[in-house]
Subunit: 330 residues, 2 copies
């Protein structure tokens, strides 16, 4: 900056004012400054500016695994919500490990991020998130709640998700048995969905097939392997509700290998990833609008005060009927 000031014979502050587009400096000088600046190859040092103004412009996105299409689509939505305001996103994967999650969060706080969108690793406890409570950085938990953490949460209406799936299975496919598959056994966010599922099964008099209640990492490959093992020892139930679309994709593959098609076993995923239309069979799913969720998270970070109710806004899920539930073969 001093260089361009010297080159033009003006003061350093004139340059600063000119570059920030302040109208206190003459339009003519402003143009001259800009031109000289990039003639000299000068690039603005935004982090120095941020230090001085105590402003921040990068928001952290920490997810278990960006390879999961849900996380990727949410990342896209988040960026869309942030870029118009000149913000960027810093990405980090925890691989479902709480310890790397805490060290990542720590690093992000040290970087003075403007906000944090977090899909917590599976066995995250409220204590693990304590440092975030005290911090003045706006945080929002996405898609997986840690109820006792007292942190704002943006997710979906789990009860409604389950009801949409189970009602469809009962009303159009008349299933007599079903199971909920996916997620780790450990206490965590899927406990809620599983509980809703069980209660609905009981209420509708549908058999809840217990053998599918096993832990499995939340990705397609692990789900495939787990499902294959189960199918080796037991026939498929009439329906499988999967904790995520990734998991459903693995299940679809296992079912295909076992030669059971959608008319014999309906599978319904949860998420609504875009590539669900392109699987074989295409994926019937409960859409929770991953991209919108990411965008909403980005907006919520800055539109609200940080001290809000623990259970924040919910996105309304929608049933997307495709082939994997057997609707195409009926």
């Amino acid at each position: 900056m001093q260089d361009v000031a010297n080159a033009l014979g003006v003061s350093l502050s004139t340059v600063s004012l000119a570059l920030s587009g302040n109208d206190v400096v003459a339009p003519a000088t402003r143009a001259r400054v800009r031109d000289e600046a990039n003639r000299l190859g000068y690039v603005y040092n935004r982090s120095a500016a941020n230090l001085r103004t105590r402003s921040r412009d990068v928001v952290g996105l920490v997810v278990p695994d960006i390879t999961n299409p849900f996380a990727a689509e949410a990342a896209l939505g988040l960026q869309d919500a942030l870029m118009p305001d000149g913000r960027m996103v810093a990405l980090a994967n925890t691989r479902e490990r709480v310890d790397t999650q805490t060290s990542i969060v720590q690093a992000l706080l040290e970087q003075r991020i403007a906000g944090l969108v977090l899909i917590p690793a599976l066995d995250t406890s409220a204590a693990d998130l304590a440092l975030l409570r005290r911090s003045d950085t706006p945080v929002i938990l996405m898609n997986r709640n840690v109820s006792e953490s007292q942190l704002p949460f943006l997710g979906t209406d789990d009860e409604r998700v389950i009801r949409l799936a189970v009602d469809h299975l009962r009303d159009v496919h008349h299933v007599t048995s079903a199971a909920y598959f996916g997620g780790l056994q450990a206490a965590g966010p899927q406990k809620a969905r599983k509980a809703h599922f069980r209660s609905l099964m009981q209420q509708y008099g549908i058999q809840d097939v217990a053998i599918w209640d096993v832990p499995s990492a939340p990705n397609a490959l692990a789900a495939y392997e787990a499902a294959r093992e189960i199918l080796r020892t037991a026939p498929a139930p009439a329906a499988l509700v999967c904790h995520s679309d990734s998991i459903a994709i693995g299940v679809l593959r296992a079912l295909n290998e076992a030669h059971v098609d959608p008319s014999e076993c309906s599978v319904i995923g949860i998420d609504g990833i875009v590539d669900g239309v392109v699987t074989v069979p295409s994926l019937t799913t409960i859409d929770v609008f991953p991209s919108d969720m990411g965008a909403m998270a980005g907006r919520l970070l800055f539109t609200q005060s940080a001290n809000q109710p623990a259970s924040g806004p919910l996105v309304t899920p929608a049933l997307r009927i495709r082939e994997s539930c057997g609707c195409a073969s009926d």
Copy 2:
């Protein structure tokens, strides 16, 4: 920092030294400082430190679309290579738009990133990347080269990729016709692969089916739609080599709808994404090790001088035989 210094009755610099783990300060005091620091809820301001030390610790990763599994897996690999050194990654999606790419790159440079890993948008020209040449920030182009840009490139051996695919099609499937599908028509990185494909077709006397030579966005959904249109008017060739695994997944779906199975039309993807084992049919592909590529990019950024040959290291591709080429049904 001053607060914790006062609280302990020591000097500010003692605190600084203690927190950075410098052995010039007594281990006992070091511990006392650390304890008092986080008792007071103090968090280190790394960006202020970076300003002073002229060091940088976040590297930019800009990709067309993080939703593409190749990009996501590369991101994971990149993070793995970076985190041990205490570095983080800033992610940005260009959606294949050159203008948003340049504005993103500009923003990243203003943030004073430590380095940049870039998968260029499809019609990126050397001129679009000129500002990166002048910058003192290490840059590495990944997976798509912009030959005239003079920037270091990390990719795969395109000729070998094509040869692995075509040799397999000829030697084990004895195909008499084939096509290369995917990517935009525009001048760009896939020109090389397409050229190698054509020359090999000619050399082997295999018919190159021209109707598949149409532009399509590089994602599964767009590929599916394009392939479906083509299949409406023409029978499938004996083989389809797809520019990426994502594209292959879309093609698989289109083929399935047209009731042509792998024994009639072999499809081979390029990338080696992990979910390729879980598609139906599972995806035969040329593996270019996306995750390793990301990790290599991270290491290369800092192990080499920036002024290196335009065409950097290549990863050696490998054929992964699965079902989609028809090997399972033979």
